[in-house]
């Protein structure tokens, strides 16, 4: 190779041509390789594309089910109401009947009329129709509740909110949306129709994160498997006269942080008619308490236990029958825990039993505090005397409700639940101690007579709820009023095209 290449080519031009062609061929093959890589990536994207074109706001779960029959099938299984665990499950449970103390604690609030164990997502709309808490509105301008109630009940909410602002939506009466919101919680609440990735469409959650200066737009997949649940399974309140759904997280997610937030607003859900306490109602702060869970801290998401992977023949799918893991322990718990089922159930119940027992202790104290406070008012106590007492009752009931309302808390975060209840017991005891001083000042040094609250009926009679009348009105309303709205919804949906097949 002493002679330079150029001289060689000068002698034999074909070498030059060979070089030229050789390079061209290499470039051509490289191009083919690039094309192949791009094509295979497109394949990967197409694999996750539904075979049907689903509209961004498609609220009908059965329409999504056309593209994802297996998932839809397991989703539909949520209609099963057979499972009953020790404290929960999907079976019907009249919680007021199981624990009449709740009637006193929620006196003056709709929960004292009717409070049942929540059933599966597929019942979200029906159960809102059925509950006595929503009343019997004769037209779209009546009724005790606003449309804020609908915010978490249906994928129709996003569809309607695309046409009107959230503020306008929350302002309307609950009854005004009866003909619009008809599909139970389902596919669109968590999924992006274009590629089935998880998405957050709950405006209150996004706003809460914005106020905290955090971004919820691009989270890793496993975080999303928790966040889609945090769209609804959280503490919230209706802000102002517009009943704007708001998550009170600005100061943090702990029970004390949220209380500070509410105190700053001097917020109260209602004034308790017996003790005249301005009460904050806690609404299932599941996500907040889950932060204290050892499972959460070890990276487990909600879906890991409540929607585990299951094998169906030769395929594995995410079980969309969202339910208590106690009904599905092989797939839920035993993927990680190698103990026997009996042992694991015992571990769960051990925690729940202890939290439940202490919860009842606190409930008893609170019931007595409310009735003793009423006795004090009746015997001439003034506001100045009662102010510190009411503050303590408010704090104690907030702590009790924070744990009691989050059904999973006793297992998710037993330690934090116990801490909160212990705090509550201390506050409730202090309230009763101060009450006894108030009563002593008023010249009473005897135990306050307690009414018989041994059953739901007796308790409701004591707070003046005529259940028979309410139930009768509801039945009447369901027979004569509700069907008209549902008919309107039916007519509206008849004109909605079903997803079309694109692949």
């Amino acid at each position: 190779m002493k002679t330079p290449l150029s001289e060689k080519i000068a002698k034999n031009p074909w070498i030059g041509w060979a070089l030229f062609l050789g390079t061209m061929i290499v470039v051509f093959v490289l191009g083919l390789l690039a094309a192949s890589i791009v094509q295979r990536r497109t394949e990967a994207n197409l694999m996750n594309t539904p075979r049907y074109k689903i509209d961004e706001f498609e609220p009908r779960n059965e329409a999504w089910g056309m593209a994802f029959p297996r998932e839809y099938q397991t989703y539909s299984q949520m209609s099963d109401t057979l499972f009953r665990s020790k404290y929960g499950g999907s079976a019907f449970r009249d919680l007021l009947d199981e624990d009449p103390r709740l009637v006193i604690l929620f006196a003056g609030y709709a929960f004292s009329k009717d409070f049942n164990q929540a059933r599966g997502h597929v019942y979200s709309v029906v159960d809102v129709h059925n509950t006595l808490r929503t009343g019997t509105p004769a037209n779209e301008n009546e009724g005790p509740q606003n449309s804020s109630c609908w915010a978490c009940k249906s994928p129709d909410v996003a569809r309607v909110m695309a046409k009107m602002s959230p503020a306008d939506f929350y302002k309307t009466k609950w009854s005004a949306m009866l003909s619009e919101i008809v599909n139970p919680i389902g596919c669109a609440n968590c999924h992006n129709p274009s590629d089935m990735t998880l998405r957050l469409f709950q405006i209150p959650l996004k706003e809460a994160y914005e106020r905290m200066g955090k971004n919820v737009e691009s989270l890793p997949l496993n975080k999303m498997r928790t966040m889609v649940c945090a769209q609804c399974h959280v503490e919230y309140y209706f802000k102002g006269d517009g009943k704007y759904v708001t998550f009170p997280w600005d100061k943090g997610l702990n029970v004390d942080d949220i209380e500070k937030y509410y105190d700053e607003y001097a917020f109260a859900d209602w004034i308790h008619p017996l003790s005249k306490t301005p009460i904050i109602k806690a609404q299932h702060p599941d996500f907040e308490l889950f932060q204290h869970s050892i499972h959460y801290q070890r990276g487990v998401s909600c879906a890991d236990c409540h929607m585990p992977y299951v094998t169906e023949g030769s395929q594995k799918i995410t079980d969309h029958k969202v339910q208590s893991p106690l009904n599905n322990m092989e797939a839920s718990c035993m993927v990680c825990h190698k103990q026997t089922k009996e042992e694991l159930i015992k571990n769960v119940y051990d925690r729940q039993d202890r939290v439940y027992t202490q919860k009842i202790v606190l409930e008893d104290l609170l019931v007595k505090a409310h009735i003793e406070a009423k006795f004090a008012w009746d015997n001439g106590a003034n506001e100045k005397m009662m102010e510190p007492v009411l503050k303590l009752i408010r704090q104690a009931q907030w702590r009790w409700d924070f744990v009691a309302a989050s059904h999973g808390a006793s297992f998710h975060a037993p330690l934090e639940s116990m801490r909160i209840i212990a705090d509550g017991i201390e506050k409730a005891s202090e309230a009763r101690l101060q009450l006894s001083r108030v009563l002593a000042t008023l010249g009473h040094n005897e135990p306050v007579p307690m009414p018989d609250l041994s059953s739901k009926e007796k308790a409701q009679a004591y707070v003046g709820i005529d259940l028979k009348k309410l139930k009768g009105e509801k039945e009447e309303w369901k027979k004569n009023v509700l069907p008209k709205w549902l008919q309107l919804a039916k007519e509206r949906e008849q004109n909605m095209p079903l997803p079309e097949r694109i692949m």
């Binding site: 290449l5 080519i9 690039a34 890589i37 992977y309 395929q315 993927v335």
Partner: protein, 195 residues
């Protein structure tokens, strides 16, 4: 000082009348090479990110089953599937296996159900013991693949068959499992321009 380098360069210098086409061709060649590098996300294959492994969509089942297993929090694909005793072996094995996978995937010659080949099995067996050594030592399972193949022991997953991918593993086993999808090549500024 750089005479020898100049000598070599000279050898490759095309004659003056060839210069332009050669420069253009070299540009095309390099450019195409760079595009292949970019579109295949070649740099990501040095990392330990499981999302890289799902660039080939036939690995979805493996990704999704791992993502639903208890190993998800502790071990990435590479924790089990590449050696960790020294950096040279690690990257040699990674490169070797990666190129093998890339070739099989490109030529469409992959099977419907993926099984580990022997070198892969050797590495996984090593890695089971690497993390679970305190357990495996107790049951005399600290054996390498050669001992197992000679009939003096079992692979960990001969008994622990579900760990971590489960037993359902064909390419179509997880049709709608959520796994990271490779991002498009088109940069955002270009998308906006096209709009």
């Amino acid at each position: 000082m750089f005479d020898w380098a100049k000598q070599i360069l000279k050898r490759f210098q095309p004659p003056p009348n060839w210069r332009v086409p050669v420069i253009v061709l070299a540009g095309i060649f390099t450019g195409t090479g760079l595009f292949v590098f970019y579109t295949s996300r070649a740099w990501s294959y040095v990392s330990d990110d499981p999302a890289t492994c799902v660039n080939c969509h036939i690995m979805r089942t493996q990704y999704v089953t791992w993502h639903h297993s208890s190993h998800r929090e502790q071990a990435t694909c590479n924790d089990c599937h590449v050696p960790h005793d020294n950096i040279v072996r690690k990257y040699y094995f990674k490169a070797n296996d990666g190129l093998r996978h890339a070739t099989i995937f490109t030529l469409n010659t992959y099977p419907q159900t993926i099984y580990m080949h022997k070198p892969g099995q050797r590495v996984v067996q090593e890695n089971c013991i690497r993390c679970h050594g305190n357990l495996t030592a107790m049951v005399k399972a600290n054996v390498d693949l050669d001992t197992i193949l000679a009939g003096n022991g079992k692979r960990c997953w001969d008994c622990h068959r579900e760990v971590p991918h489960g037993t359902v593993k064909s390419l179509s086993a997880t049709p709608y499992g959520t796994a990271p999808v490779p991002k498009t090549d088109t940069p955002n500024w270009l998308k906006k321009l096209i709009k």
